[in-house]
Amino acid sequence: MAEPFLSIQHVRKSYGSNTVVQDFSLDVEPGEFVSFLGPSGCGKTTVLRMVAGFEEPSAGKIVVAGKDITRLKPNQRNVGMVFQAYALFPNLTVAQNIAFGLKVAGMPKADADKRVAEMLEMIKLPQMADRYPYQLSGGQQQRIALARAIAPKPKLLLLDEPLSALDAKVRVSLREEIRSIQKKLGITTIFVTHDQEEALSISDRIAVMYGGKAEQVATPFEIYNRPATKFVANFVGTLNVLEGKVTDAASGKVQVNTQEVSLKGKLNGSKSGDTLSLALRPEAISLDRQPGHDTSLSGEIAEVHFLGSVIRVRVGIGGNTVSLDTFNNSATPPPVVGEKADISFSSGDMLVLH
């Protein structure tokens, strides 16, 4: 395996008796785009700030390109960062903002001007050079902030919830733009977000964080389809959780309400009589039996929500409720609340949460 470009090794951060990051380790490959995803207070921003140098780890070390940067000041790290609040300098024009890092580094004016022009072309705002930040929209300001961060050619790019302050439409277009620029430049990037859709859509890998620890570090596909912990399964995407009881551990039989499900090879050391949490994504369930679906459960339609192209149906199965989505079909009316219904799924899609 190639040497990681960024290596965060057993990093811990405490404020007095309050530990906000516990033994966090992560290796990031050159050019990789890794997202830290988690709820507020999970420690994702603290890890990012330790990589930037704004916080000093209580233990552990951070290595970039083979060099230990743990004790270096932020201005000695050659790292670019984009902040949630844009953080453009209000007294400087767009061009002066982008040139700030170049000027600090002592780049000759002609070269700096050329680089600023390149950056403005890259973010498709060449006509904005002489504007002040207050004359720009939020999306434009954040693109300028991105250009400013990239202009000095940093080794690493850190994005601290850069899209959170923007409206939904700008958010989607800007995240695509960020990803395309990152791919074009091949710059190793850490992206902090609490928005799972954002993380799933643009990351090479995601570190899902909770309680100061990485619960799972994997590709978006893995995170969504094979969550390693109950927290990851619940936090990423919509999940149906059914409580079941192991009736025969050897043959993988689990009882859900009064019905039986076969989960051979998935029980991982559970004994007969153990209770389990079983999870199913809504898109893995159908109201009618589909090819490949080997398991069915009977229940009753509890709720029906017509969402346009999709109909979200909630089916009560004993004490459990299962959500599933079906596509709207003008020839078929939606199910009716109170109707008996059989749901079907492949037992292979069912996750046993630990």
């Binding site: 930037a52 000041k73 209000p90 700030f100 929209s137 939020g138 923007l166």
Partner: protein, 263 residues
């Protein structure tokens, strides 16, 4: 007219009369030096007086030094408190208010005892030392205004994020303060500077007790011995103060606008 509006106008007119009638009376009296006609004789005498020119120049120079000293102390202190020590803010605010509570005469007597010619720090043993002590005293007197002006300026910008943005781009502390923080609070600093200027120009107690040839003692001296010139001087001092206030208003229009706004 609604009764609320009527009483608002009454209050405004009474307030304006309270302010303008003595001012107009002073202006009128200052023009009466020549018997039977209005003239600017009192102004000509005052402005032509060598002591007016020298004391005014002395106070202007003292004000400039006071402003520089105040900016050097207050800007880094207020910045650092906002950035790293916000828990100290109430204490620092209390300290900066002390000059409003402790009379200048108490401060200056303290100085005389502490920095007399026989003390380990004999500021009062030389003219230069006494001038320096006067500037230090003025910086203390202007602290409540200077600190509040700068702190208000800092409140309008996101000090922490701007500092971090500059740091991550490679900037050191001098660049951050000189190129990012100071330009964004410059108008606030200038407001504090003009308030300081207005205070220093008219200050009497410190300058008199430290025996400095400042404008305040000159005003008092003229007031005690002449009839029409003090009125002319009062109007000149008033014009200078109001000129400073107007400059604050004009300059505040050029303040850098906040970049934070919705899409």
């Amino acid at each position: 007219m609604k009764s609320g509006k009527f009483w608002a106008w009454v209050v405004f007119i009474v307030g304006a009369a309270y302010f303008f009638i003595p001012l107009m009376a002073t202006v009128e009296f200052s023009l009466r030096m020549r018997r039977g006609v209005h003239s600017f004789d009192a102004y000509q005498i005052v402005l032509g007086d060598a002591r007016f020119q020298s004391t005014f120049l002395y106070s202007v120079i003292a004000a400039i030094f006071t402003i520089v000293l105040g900016v050097l102390i207050v800007v880094p202190a207020a910045y650092w408190i906002r950035l790293r020590l916000p828990q100290l803010r109430p204490i620092v605010e209390f300290i900066t208010l002390l000059p409003l509570v402790i009379p200048a005469i108490v401060i200056v007597f303290g100085y005389i005892r502490m920095y007399g010619s026989n003390s380990p720090l004999p500021f009062l043993g030389s003219n230069m030392g006494a001038n320096a002590l006067l500037v230090i005293g003025y910086a203390t007197l202007s602290l409540p205004y200077m600190y509040r002006a700068v702190d208000t300026g800092l409140r309008t910008i996101d000090v922490r994020t701007l500092t971090e943005a500059a740091q991550i781009l490679g900037a050191g502390w001098s660049t951050i303060i000189g190129r990012v923080i100071l330009p964004n609070v410059l108008i606030a600093v200038l407001s504090g500077a003009f308030l300081t200027f207005a205070i220093v120009i008219g200050e009497f107690t410190m300058a008199s007790l430290l025996n400095r040839p400042a404008f305040g003692p000159y005003l008092q001296n003229i007031g005690a011995n002449r009839a029409y010139e003090p009125a002319a001087l009062a109007i000149i001092a008033f014009a200078i103060t109001w000129g400073c206030m107007s400059l604050i208003q004009i300059l505040s229009r050029f303040a850098p606008k906040s970049a934070n706004r919705p899409n």
